[in-house]
Structure formats: structure tokens, C-alpha cells
Symmetry: C3
Subunit: 151 residues, 3 copies
Amino acid sequence: MSVYEKLRALKITLPQVTPPAAAFVPYVRAGNLLFVSGHIARKDGKPWVGKLGADLHTAQGQEAARGIAIELLATLHAATGDLNKIMRIVKLLVLVNSTPQFTEQHLVANGASELLVQVFGERGPHARSAFGIAQIPLGSCVEIELIAEIA
Amino acid sequence: MSVYEKLRALKITLPQVTPPAAAFVPYVRAGNLLFVSGHIARKDGKPWVGKLGADLHTAQGQEAARGIAIELLATLHAATGDLNKIMRIVKLLVLVNSTPQFTEQHLVANGASELLVQVFGERGPHARSAFGIAQIPLGSCVEIELIAEIA
Amino acid sequence: MSVYEKLRALKITLPQVTPPAAAFVPYVRAGNLLFVSGHIARKDGKPWVGKLGADLHTAQGQEAARGIAIELLATLHAATGDLNKIMRIVKLLVLVNSTPQFTEQHLVANGASELLVQVFGERGPHARSAFGIAQIPLGSCVEIELIAEIA
């Protein structure tokens, strides 16, 4: 089953990629590695604002992380023209907007990790770091950066 | 116009690189990728201390980020011997010393991103993650890590 | 002296690697680069809980970072089958669970950096970023992510 068939089976439609209005870009390729910029959580097209441990509980954080993974897929599609060219999801950096007490960043991150494994199969399991930070641009609750390997 | 001519036009003089007095080094090359250590903001040769959202406003953070970009250029020059050998600025990781309320890390980061694009032209736009953290070594207000691709 | 002889001289026994019970994996190889997941500090087999600047002082943080470096060595051994195949420790990302006042993340990180240099000799010095964050999964005091280059 191709990546796109899996996305259809999961009823996931890739969003349009909006390039950041700034000096940076959504991704850069260097050799066979694709470095994807940090993507922030969005809901209804706006930043999904809130802090884990105060405004949002873990399940909401997971949903936010899953939503970012879908945005990352859209960016990977824009970068490659064909998601089947992705050889491997290499690494995620998962930043969770956290109070100093919240300690379930790994569970939040699973919302993204599990979707990537569902979509990419054996090319999906990745190295990962997840941790809690003081804030995220525009107050978003989660931000995820990704490295992928291309054929 | 070469990178050095652009630096002259911008009236930027590259500082001396001071290797860290520790077990780590300012950069490591692996294949065609150059991994540059996190550089902290300095002012008058000392760490530029302060927290965005409390001690410093966004414009000061941008100035600090621009200053770090100049230090990064000095390190890239030391690493390559010739900045024109840089094929691409691949990725920045921009860490902003933030209160839990400050949400303009992306604007702070632009201080570095915009200088790199001015200096490197079409080789300058990069992937990027920016976010707010609890503290930075020596109390510095911003820290930036960089990956570049070399010919 | 091989890496294993150095480990014996340092009386370091590598622990068993426990794969994370999740969608991510301890490491992914892409080309000659090995991306190793963030490893958290442990003590007596459990997360070493605490925050620098409140619960733990710098020397304890250094000990925690050194302990993580040993866990990272175990993962590198599992990834390569032979630590002597490591050409270079390329980069560490050192995340220190910090109060907003604690500013000695670089000293904490030295606990890991110095051990890696002891073990790998001239292949050990690496690029590095260290900074303070709001929290770490399971409340652990330090988390370290690593990139290595393989022959």
C-alpha cells in the first residue's frame, strides 16, 4: 500500500503548505537528508494556544502533535513531490509548551510518532527527543521539527 | 559579490573565534555537513544577560540574535577558511531565554535569519526552529546552533 | 587502546539497552550519520528526578550527565556492534531540567562531554548545545541527544 493509500485509509487530507513569511523556509535538502523547520500546532487554521499542565491535558497535546504530523506530511509532500520517495523518518524534535511540573512530554509526542509509523510502515520508526519548554512562537502548545532521509 | 564583499558592505567585521575551554569544540564536520555548537549572545565581550518578556524586549532580542549570527559567521570562516565554500545554511536552532508568557521567539530569531540571507543570498534561506527555554548558560538571552552544507 | 579497553580502565560496564515501548526507536542510521534518541538520566534503574537550581546542585547534574553518556555508549554499541567503528562524536544536545534562575547548564553538560573524550580520544570532541528547559519526560533531571559519524 502506498503512503497515499494509507493516508486515504486514515481519512487524512494533506493541507496546503503556507511558506513562512520570513527569511527561513519550510525545509532544506542537504545530500539525502531533508531538514524540516519546526511546525507549530494549529486548530481551525490558527495557532493552538495553551500550556500542558495548565490549559491542556495530555490527550489534547497528543491530538495537537498528531495534527502537526499531518502538516509535516504536507511539507514532506511539497519537498519531494512523492511521499513514497521518503526512505526513512530519521528524527523528531518534539517541543511541548509545559508548566515546570508537567512530565508527560513523551506521551504527547506519541501523537505524532504513532501517525508517522501508521503512514510510513517500517520506514516510520524514528529517533526522537521530547521535552518541555517555556514557550512556543504565538503561544502554540506543541512544535515539532523533523529530519527525513530521501532516496 | 562574494560573501566577504557583502560583509564589508554591511560594515561587519568578523570577531576572533575563542574555542570553548571545555571538552567540546566550536564545530565538527561530518561528510558535507558542518555542525556548529550553540553560540550564546554577547555584548561588549561578555554574555548578554537577560530574559525576554522580563528584562529585554523583542527588538533587543533581535539585536542579540543578529550578533550571534556574526559570531557564527566567524566560526564558519574558521571552519572553512573561505565562507564562499558554504553551499547552504541548512538549519538554525534558536533558543530564546523566555518567561513562560513571551511568545515572539520567531521575531527574535529573524534577527539572525535575515542577516544570514543578506550575507549568503540564495544560499542563505534555511530551515529553522525557534522556541522559548527556561535558561541559557551564563544567563545569556539567546543561543543559536547552526548546520551548514559545504562543497 | 581500543574503546573497550578504555571503558575497562574507567571501570565502566555498559548497561543493557531497553528499547522504548513506543513508536520511536533508540537510534536511526542515515548514510554515515547515526541519530540517537534523547536519553534521560536514570539512577538505580529509575528516572533520576529533579530540577537543577532547586532539587539538585551542579555536581549532581554532572554525575547525571555522565551516567547518560554511559547509556548513550551502550546504545552506540548496540547500533554498531563495535564502538571502534565510531569515527566521530559529532554533536550533543544537552537539555537540563532547570529553574528559570539556574545558569550552569554548560557545567552540567561537561559531565557527558568529558567522558566521551576520555573514551574516544581524538574522536571524542564534539559540537554541543546545552540549555535549560521547563521539564523532561518522567521528571528526569537531564536528557541528552547525540549524533555520531560511522565509518
